[in-house]
Amino acid sequence: MRFAIRSLLVALSCTLAAPVFAQAKWPERPIRVINPFTPGGTSDLLMRLSTERVEKALGTQLVIESRPGAGGSIGSAVVAQAPADGYTLLVTTTGPAAIAQVLFEKPPYDVVKDFTYLYMFGGAPILVAVSAKSPIKTIQDFVAAAKKSPQTFANSGTGSVGHLTGALFAGEAGVRLTHVPFKGAPEAQASIVSGEVASLWNTLGAHVGGLKGGEIRGIAVTSQDRAPQFPEIPTLRELGFPDVVVTNWFLIAGPANLPQDIVLRVNEAFTAAGKDPKAAAGIAALGVQPIPGLNLKNYTDFIRKEVAVWGKVMKEHGIKRQ
């Protein structure tokens, strides 16, 4: 009932507000948030967890629009080209906001110049896991096995953070790993449970269930510190791979040159929404942890640094551009 009344009111207000052109006070109509992936992914869920609170704080409706394709770059390109009026925003992640810049022959946008970065949800580590039945218990076991014969690693998609992290690790550890790509995280996890593939290198979020249920065994995570949900899984940093510190981060962006007051208001609204206990619990369940030291001033520097890191990984490990 509440929903019906609300949607009716919102619809009514859109209808009345739509033909007005002048931009006196932002926001005066619903804000479109492009999610460059299919609904149900981590980026989509992060948005939907925050929607309610942000809508209240900004006093307008958020409309989440899915524009999937080409690893998130199609939807991101839409926002890069949108007018910088604060009515088109983007929820984005490492793939389209950093790797795309170095993965594609002709990137459809410049991740540094074409966007204003507004809010960082945080980062999810890459999980390194094996089947619970596997004799491999630690990362040392894994490296030893890989030294004997090349081991396979499953993850969701060529050019994804998990894929590049696996390649980065192989280089650091001096072993050969064969990449076995899957369409999605569930299939990748199933392949290590069935014993087809030796290990899994993928963003933590989708595998929390597998770890909790005991089908898979986590042998490492790639974040700076251990994941709060799984304090028993060591980080690669403490295991002697200080250069394999990687997270798959999620942030809100808008077109370049967004007015400063809009930037501040969006940032405030999302920051407040993230503090709501229920939303915070949901965000943590998705494996996303805050990245310390990041704020409005240095988001763009952070992106620039990430682009450089992934560019180096791709070059050093012979991953071809698309």
């Binding site: 949607s7 009716l8 619809a11 859109c14 209808t15 739509a18 033909p19 479109r32 409309v63 989440i64 629009e65």
Partner: protein
């Protein structure tokens, strides 16, 4: 309905169609690597499937020439162009003019395909459907459509 068998019938069309599909696939896929048995390239499966299409097409073609197949039904240019125009109008207007206007013109356009046109019905149907579309998709299902021209 009387259907006659002819050499220039459905079989001929189907055979040529399969061959064309296969040949186009092979041509545009010529740059894709086929790889090895262990690491198949992106071109392996398309090459296999497209060759299959050419083969099937050739058999269908030869059989139809030998034995004849049912004749192809006549084409109505009015219907074909009508559909192309109607869907084209929707595609051209939905992004800029919004659901209300786009539905109106699309339905009105669609009504023109039929030879038995009744003006009153066209007006009623297009307004009715336009309103219904907005109620159903925007209000009830909350789909983020642009409703009005901006």
């Amino acid at each position: 309905m009387q259907v006659s068998r002819t050499r220039a019938g459905q079989g001929l069309g189907a055979g040529l169609m399969f061959i064309c599909f296969g040949a186009l696939g092979l041509w545009f896929g010529r740059g894709l690597a086929t790889g090895s048995a262990q690491e198949m390239g992106p071109g392996f499966a398309p090459a296999l499937v497209c060759s299959g299409m050419v083969l099937v097409g050739a058999i269908v073609l030869v059989r139809s020439l030998l034995r004849g197949t049912d004749a192809i039904e006549a084409v109505s240019a009015r219907a074909v162009f009508g559909i192309v125009a109607t869907l084209g109008v929707f595609a051209a207007t939905i992004g800029s003019l919004g659901l209300v206007v786009s539905s109106l013109v699309t339905v009105a356009g669609a009504c023109l395909i039929e030879p038995r046109l009744r003006w009153k019905e066209v007006v009623l149907l297009s307004t009715g459907l336009s309103v219904a579309a907005v109620v159903l998709f925007v209000f009830v299902l909350r789909i983020p459509f642009r409703t009005w021209p901006v």
